[in-house]
């Protein structure tokens, strides 16, 4: 589904604080798989995730998206031909990002002061879907994640586990083909982490592609992972040891 060919990412290029976050990574992610990116903090995991999630274009190298979905978003005539992210105009990049990917952040990044429901609906607002439809989908997600009774509660009144589920629901509201999670269990105790993995398992069964960066053994040693890749100093250590 996503193909990275010798991708590098250099921040602050040409300035004194120049910094190479990703240094020549080649990686293939297959639709429906659960891939765990493992590595210590500062290893370049997050940068790799933002490249995969089309938040950025790489400094060099190529990123290609396969599949009819990506072709539809950029209006490509030939769905069989992969979409070259590297040469894509900025506006398509955002479109791809918000129609193909759902993101779960380490800090959850939920908006305080509004309800859990509104938080979940947020990513779908600019897409032009009628509010009633978004609301219905959101409530279904709350149901399936077992937090339906918390839908109208404000974010700050939710427990950590509930917030995590709200963040997952928000990532799923646009019905993405892939879910990208950055250290999803960093702020959870082991019970909640296991609950998270149970949700991941359900999603995987439903056919969602999962890309998870984590240095939590509970996650990368989990039997759910189809592939674990290890990143250190921006380089790939174990090139996609598939199980």
């Amino acid at each position: 589904m996503i193909e990275l060919l010798n991708v590098t990412k250099i921040y602050n290029r040409g300035r004194h604080n120049e910094f190479s976050a990703v240094r020549g990574i080649t990686l293939e992610l297959i639709a429906g798989e659960c891939v765990i990116i493992k590595g210590p903090s500062g290893s370049g995991k997050s940068s790799l995730l933002s490249l995969i999630g089309c938040m950025h274009r790489p400094t060099s190298g190529r990123i290609r998206l396969h599949g009819a979905e990506a072709a539809r978003v950029v209006g490509s005539a030939n769905p069989a031909e992969p979409v070259e992210v590297t040469s894509l105009p900025e506006r398509y990049l955002t479109e791809i990002r918000r129609q193909l990917f759902g993101f779960i952040f380490q800090q959850f990044n939920l908006v305080r002061g509004i309800t859990a429901l509104e938080n979940v609906m947020l990513p779908a607002y600019p897409l032009g879907v009628p509010r009633s439809v978004i609301r219905k989908n959101a409530l279904e997600l709350f149901d399936s994640l077992g937090i339906a009774h918390r839908a109208t509660a404000r974010i700050e009144h939710l427990s950590g586990g509930e917030q995590q589920r709200v963040a997952i629901a928000r990532a799923l509201i646009t019905r993405p083909t892939a879910l990208i999670a950055d250290e999803p269990t960093a702020h959870l105790d082991s019970n909640l982490s296991r609950e998270f993995l149970a949700i991941v398992e359900k999603l995987k069964l439903a056919g969602t592609t999962l890309i998870i960066a984590s240095h939590d053994p509970l996650v990368y040693d989990s039997p759910l992972a189809d592939k674990v890749v290890e990143v250190r100093d921006g380089l790939l250590l174990s090139p996609g040891s598939s199980r």
Partner: protein, 380 residues
């Protein structure tokens, strides 16, 4: 098209729920904002309507009034001046005006006492303004005593009371017969307060005025144009310290609003970062902020404008009456004619809505162009 409308409405929904989240702040801001617009709109409506009203009312004023000045002070003018002025070419009539003031210590009010040659006022009778009649509870046929120069009261019968419609011109007026006036105030015979000159051709008024000033250098001709110009200047939108006083309040508000709108709180900044990270485009974030600004400023503008109109034209500007009234006890009761200057309304709109929009959107720009992966990088 449908998607565009739907997404705009979704964003508007979210902007509203964001404002409701800060309910107290939002409502107090709208209220304060509306109050400023209300005061400005009231001043605008009031001064413009007063200006047009005085223009129409005083279009009936004498074409030319000739005063005599002695040592820079207004002094009774000899009637022979009038006879001289009558010979100037173009002058059709010269009419001596006798007028002055009378202080009524009972109700602590100043009257304007003036004579008329009108048949309706005979010796011993008066025509009085509606305000005066109201203050002294006088009806037609009642008697009114006026103290003369010698400390003795004279009693007059009220023959006419002016209608309330004419209050703006006549509220404090006491019209008397000329003989009564002279007797009451011991006004010298062969003198008048000033002369009212009628000119056959209005275009000749400046020429006649110049001729009068030439013939009688100690006089000061005041044309109707001068009168109109004086009132235009008085009610000029820019004229009047009121605007200056209000601009202080306005300035304070602008600073407050600027601070409110432009200083993005850490929370707002965080919110924008989250929106970007979950796939909102920069322009969508700006549209959100634009809506937020528009909701506040547009609502406040409409409320203020409507309030101003009601205050000035339906309630006769009670807040200004207190100010303009000052120490005067006699104040005309008048309902202003709703003359509206649409240009001024447009200026008010632009001045009150646009700066606020700008102050909300521009600082958000800074926050909205952050990279969408900021949220992710912050976590590493």
């Amino acid at each position: 098209m449908r998607t565009v409308i739907e997404s705009q409405r979704n964003i508007l929904d979210y902007a509203l729920s964001g404002l409701m989240r800060r309910r107290g702040k939002t409502f107090s801001l709208i209220l304060l904002y509306a109050l400023v617009v209300f005061v400005l709109a009231s001043i605008m409506f009031f001064t413009h309507a007063m200006r047009r009203e005085s223009e129409l009312l005083l279009s009936g004023a004498p074409e030319l009034v000739v005063q005599r000045m002695i040592a820079g002070r207004h002094d009774p003018i000899p009637l022979e001046y009038g006879r001289g002025i009558a010979t100037i070419r173009g002058v059709s009539r010269v009419q001596p005006r006798l007028w002055g003031y009378y202080y009524d210590s009972d109700i602590r009010a100043n009257y304007t006492v003036q004579t008329t040659t009108d048949d309706s006022i005979t010796r011993g009778t008066l025509a009085i303004g509606a305000g005066l009649a109201r203050m002294r509870s006088l009806k037609k046929g009642d008697e009114l005593s006026i103290w003369g120069y010698d400390g003795q009261p004279r009693t007059f019968q009220v023959a006419t009371i002016f209608t309330v419609e004419s209050d703006l011109l006549t509220t404090d007026l006491v019209l008397t017969h000329e003989a009564d006036f002279r007797e009451l105030f011991h006004f010298p015979m062969e003198r008048a307060t000033d002369l009212s000159v009628t000119v056959r051709n209005p275009r000749e008024i400046p020429t006649v005025a110049a001729r009068i000033a030439e013939l009688y250098p100690d006089t000061r001709p005041i044309t109707r144009q001068d009168i109109l110009r004086t009132y235009a200047a008085v009610f000029d939108w820019r004229g009047g310290i009121l605007i200056v006083m209000v601009s202080m309040a306005l300035l304070a508000f602008v600073i407050f609003a600027w601070d409110r709108a432009s200083g993005l709180s850490a929370n707002e900044q965080r919110e924008i970062g989250i929106l970007k990270s979950i796939g909102w485009k920069t322009e969508e974030v700006l549209i959100l902020k634009l809506w937020e600004g528009a909701i506040i400023s547009l609502t406040a503008f409409l409320l203020g404008l409507i309030g101003g109109y009601i205050h000035v034209f339906l309630l006769s500007a009670p807040l200004f009456a207190r100010v303009i009234k000052g120490w005067a006890t006699l104040y005309p009761s008048f309902r202003l004619t709703p003359f509206i200057d649409y240009y001024q309304v447009a200026v008010l709109f632009v001045l009150s809505v646009f700066p606020y929009l700008l102050a909300t959107v521009v600082p958000s720009w800074q926050a909205a162009i952050v990279d969408p992966d900021n949220a992710m990088r912050g976590s590493e």
